[in-house]
Amino acid sequence: MNILACTDGSLYSPSVYDHAAWAARQMGGASIHVLHMLNPHHEEPAKLNYSGSMGVGARTALLQELVTLEAARAKIAKKRGKAVLEDASTHLKEAGVQNVVADQWHGKLSDEIANYEADADLVVLGKRGNNADFEKGHLGTNLERVVRSCQHPVLVASRAFGRMNNFVLAFDGGSSAEKAVEYAAKETLLRGMHAYLLYVGSGNAKIEAALAKAEATLKQAGFEVTIEHRDGEPEKVIGDIVAQDYIDLLVMGAYGHSSIRQFIVGSTTSAMMRTVKIPVLLFR
């Protein structure tokens, strides 16, 4: 078992380490791979020149200027990244994780996560990253894209790690929800927690049957299960329920729709994660 923990040294990082350490313990001493990506911030030119005039040897001069400016930034970023990784290793070792590998790579996490999550069984990342301040009210710039490109379950860490006694599984009868149930039953990650199976909407026979089946699966795996059935708007109801402080973790399917649709109507998953204050475990 291997856990990929993505860090960027932001406020959420210690919580990412704690969540990863918890998951490692739950998964029977899994190893943790701490990954830090050095983002290329090329889209933000350092110095602007609107003169529209090209001097002699404009191409070489411009290239040199860009290289010098970015080299300085990159060096600082690399140094900082090293410190972040050292901090991560110490933090995880203190939390009792034996097997920690920490490394840094160039690139954007959202573009390259597929290369790193191949040998991981679980991906842990913070709800927000370094750019959080700059996009308040939005999710971390990486989060949605990372979740979309991940093949494995993603544990999105909240601001701080709390107790992990129970979880709400948002059940909509869809394939990713079923996947979540199967995962909970088969893997050890959620063992020992109390399961709330939550369905929002006006039920029908099909859903009832699916719920019963899910309950049976979970019970068989040794979970204590409570079924909650509420009416209303899913986003709001789920938000209200997990806002009560006895809920520790939200488990749900993620991004069932295409990104085109989402561009227009927005995504339930993103909206959910914006509002809840607890960690979220996502299945695609």
Binding site: H42, Y50, G52, S53, M54, G57, R59, R148, S259
Partner: protein, 493 residues
Amino acid sequence: MTQTKYFQEWFSNPRRDVIAGMVVALALIPEAIAFSIIAGVDPKVGLYASFCIAVVISFVGGRAGMISAATGAMAVLLITLVRDHGLEYLLPVTILTGILQIAAGALKLGNLMRFVSRSVVTGFVNALAIIIFMSQLPQFYDQGLLMYAMVAAGLGIIYGLPLLTTAVPSPLVCIVVLTGVSMSLGWDATLNTVGDMGDLPSTLPVFLLPQVPLNFETLMIILPYAVSLAIVGLLESLMTATIVDDFTDTPSNKNQECAGQGVANIVSGFFGGMAGCAMIGQSVINVQSGGRGRLSTFAAGIILLILIVVMGDLVSQIPMAALVAVMIMVSIGTFSWSSIKNLRVHHRTSSIVMLVTVLVTVLSHNLAYGVGAGVLLSALFFAYKVSGQLDISSAFEVDKKERTYHIRGQLFFVSASTFGDAFDFREVLEKVTIDVSQAHFWDLSSINALDRVMLKFRREGTEVELYGMNEASQTLVLEVAKFDKPDAKLDTH
């Protein structure tokens, strides 16, 4: 490419992209007008083309942040077409060019760019700069000293102003100031203005179908032009893409860019424009002004359209001197000045390749010929260099009765004769061993040379043994060589 990546290429940098697009739009006008006039078409053909190409390529191109529009490199190819066959052939040529470029993209010909060496690229860029510069010279004809003074003043503004501030586009200031001066002093009577060069469009571009007979004869007229245009357009676009790749340190999709250029040209053709391609100078300006995303190219196209439709009357008042000054700036900025300094430093063969590319282009006014000559020459130089990697030594064994030849290196058509001459057939020997374990036979010529050597030795009654031929060479020997076949005879030719 994933959807999210595509969105990101559009909207990651919106504010700066729009500002950069504005700066670029202003830099597009002079080139579009100047080269329409050179190609012998109405300025509106170039302006519409620039708008269409910029907007379309922003959606379908493979390199975000690169500027494409009607360019000088393409315009010079159209001169004879418009002169000999008329304007109506411009549109089918443009559309056919687009089709060829899409085919090139589908066949992944973008990968062929690696055959274009660094020296050829430098030669291309320099030739382009020289073409842009030379094409401005006719504007001075019959205009008197005032024209020179105006251009000098324009260049003074363009290069002087950025020393004071880089917040306003100096080419724009140059155009505004020179237009103001010439209008207020009444010089527009003596000096050519944009209005004197032809009509400016006052309507939005409309969709039209080409008005030529769709037969084989038409195809034969337009095909040669379309092939040249397609090649030049792709070459300049892919080179510019590489330059922008370097600037932004991000990769681009070269084959998508080929197809994208094709789509842009087809659209431009149907809307009455001419063929275009990526522009090195304007792309540099875009990056310099902070443009990185697709939005910058899109904004440049839209702002260009607004400028020409809304400000049409004012645009026609711009003295040509102002545009000439801007184009001279573009040409100076495009030229690779370090290549002159490097003539002494770089290897002589690469300098020759560069100079031949420039020379052929400037003489033929066709960048495709220049690049063709450059690529051919660099291939020849390379073949010659590799042929030098052949080392043949020999030593006696057993009382001067046996000799072993050690062959080491690359054997192909260039080095085949060196190989053949290296053996001494006068010597009387019992046995000759040819050790080719460190040699590679590449082609028919080299196998043929080996054949001749083997058979000649045999004729002298010498026993020949071939030792250590590698597998690839062996396959070739099995296919074509004669010495290993029973009825071995020497070819007479």
